[in-house]
Amino acid sequence: MEPVAAREPLIQILSVSRRYVRGVDEVHALENVSLSIAAGRFVAFMGPSGSGKSTLMNLVSGIDRPSEGEVLVAGQSLGELDEDELAEWRARHVGLIFQFFNLIPVLDARDNVALPLLLTDLAKSERLRRAETALRVVGLEERTDHYPRTLSGGEQQRVAIARAIVTDPDLIVADEPTGDLDARNAEAILELLRRLKNDFGKTIIMVTHDPRALRFVDHAFHLDKGLLLEGEDAERADRAVQLAAGGGLLSAAGAARPGGAA
C-alpha cells in the first residue's frame, strides 16, 4: 500500500455549509464541514437520518452547491462551473449510484448502462460495446436485454453500478447503495464496490447505515446534525458501529485524523 500522505487528495471539502430555507425556518443540513479524501480510497459516510449525508454527496457530485465554502474534485473547484459545465463535468468525472437504483424502466439493461455515453461523441456501436463490457464487470453479461422490472433488486443495483462505471469516472458516489437490498445482496454489492477500487483504482464515497459496510471500506466518516465528528467523538462513533456489526472488524489504521482525512 502506498502511504496515504503521498497521494494528492482527490476530494477536498473546505469549510462547507449547506442551509435550506424551509418557510421561515432555516435548516442547517451541513455546518462548516472540512475533509479530504485521497484518490483510490473507498470511504463510508455514516450518521443518523437527517445528519446531512445525502447533502454532502450532492455537493461532491456537483448536483447541489454549498451555501458557503468550496468543493474541489481532482483540483477542479466546482463553484467555478456554471450549470451546464457542471452537468458536463459530472457526466465525465462522476458515477452515481442511488438507493433505489433509479434505472430507466423503458430501457433494457444495456441501454440503461449506455445512457451516460449519449453525452459523449462515441458512435452507437462503441457505446453498446462499452455498456456490454461494464455489464460483464458487474457479472450481468447474460442480462443485457432484460428490462429493469424483470431483474431482482440486487441485479438492478449491479446494472446501476455498470451505468456508474461505463464512462470510466475517477469518482463513484453512492448514496445508500445497499439500503433497499437484503443482507446477501448488500454484501455482494459492497464486495463489487471494493473490487472496483482494488482492480480499477476507483475512488468511492458511499453513504450507508449498514454496520457490515465497515469490513469493506478504508475509512468511515461520521456526521451528526450537519457536523462532521472528529477526534474522540469520531472514535466513539466508530466503536458504536463496530459493536453493532458484531466486533472489531475495522482496523485502527482507517481511523480519522483531526480535520478529517481518508
Binding site: 442511488f98 433509479n102 430507466i104 424502466p105 423503458v106 453525452l119 459523449t120
Partner: protein
Amino acid sequence: MGLPVSYSVRNVLARPMRSMMTAGVIALVVVAATLFLGLITSLKRTVAISGDPMNLIVMRKGSDNDGSSQLSLEAYQAIRFFDGIARDAADQPLASPELVVQPFLRTKDGGRENVLARGVEPVALQVHDKVRIVEGRMFQPSAGEAIIGRGVASRYADAELGKELQFGRGRWKVVGVFDADGSAFESEVWVDVRELANDAKRPFPYSGVRLRAASPTDLARLEKRIDDDPRYALDAQPEVEYYAKQSESANSLYVLVIGIAVLAGVGAGFGAANTMYAAVQARTAEIGTLRALGFSKRSILVAFQIEAIALALLGFAIGAVLSVLLALVLNALLGGIAFGAQTFTTNVITLRVSPSDLIGALGLALLVGVLGGLGPAWRAARLRPIEALRKA
C-alpha cells in the same frame, strides 16, 4: 447528444391505457377535421371549378342566380350575334341559352330533394367544355331524353342509364352520364331546353345565356355592352365571379368549421397536457436521475416535448385511418352528401379525404402535441435535480 427519440416513444407506449385514451381524443379531432375539411374542399371545388374564365353569364338585371332569372327569345337572338363571342367550326356563336328549373327527385334512400334541371341546346357542351359524357350519349332534342351528372347518378332513384326519371309533367329517359371535373354541373340533370320550357309552361323560354368570349378583351367589352344595352335590362358577369359569389357561403362554412376544429383541438390539447403533466409527475425521480447523470435541461425539455408530439402523432395515425374508412363507408351508404346551396337545389358532393385534408389534420394534431406538451416539458426541465431525486 441528448436523449434519443426512442426514449420518448417508448414512454408513450409504456402507459398504453392512458396514451390510447389521449390519442383517442386526438384521433376524434383528426377525424372531425379531415371529414369536414374534405367536405368543404369538395364543396368549394364544385363552386370554384364551375366557372370558366372565358365565359359570361347573362341574366335579367337584379337576379342573383340563374334560377330566378328569365330571358326572352328576342333578347337571346339579339345578344347571340354580338361581336366578340367565340365561334365553333361551323361559325356558329358559342352562346348557350339555358333554362333552369328545380323539380323534386326521389333519392335512393327514399327521401325527396330538389335537383337542378338545366335545359340546354347541344352547343352547351362547347360552352361548358369541362362537361364530358362518360357513359352513353348526348340526348336527342324533343325525344324526352336526359343526361345526368355523376353526382345525380349515385344519389337518386332510377338515375341510371336506360331508366326513366320522373319530374315535371314528363318522363325523361336517361341516355348519358357526364362528368364535369367535380363542378356543380355534376349535380344537375340536363335535357332539351325547348322540351323543358314546354313541360314547365314557362312564359319565357330561358333563364339566361352563357357566352364564351373570343378573348379576355372581348369578355370585358361584351360584359359592358350587355350591361349598358337599354333594350333588355340584362346583366352580364364573368362566370368565375358569379360562382365566387355563390361560394361565399362555403367560405363562411369553412371559417366556422376551422373554428370548431381549433376549439376541439384546444380541448384535445388540454387532454394531452394533462397526460403529460401526469407523466412528469410520475417520472420526477427519473428526471432527477437523468439530470444528475449530466443531461441538460434542454434535453429533458426536448424529450418531453417529443413525447407529447409522439402522442399526438399516434392520435393522428389512428384518426387518419378512421376518417379514410369513414369516408368510404359514408360514400357507399349515402352516395355522397347533399348540400342545399343558395338556390335550394341539392348539390351532391362526393366526400373525398384528400392528402391536403390529411395534411391539414396533421398540422392540427402537431399543434395539439406541441402546445399540449409545452407546459409539461417546461415543468420537467425546470425540476431541480436534488429535489426531484428526493421523490425516489
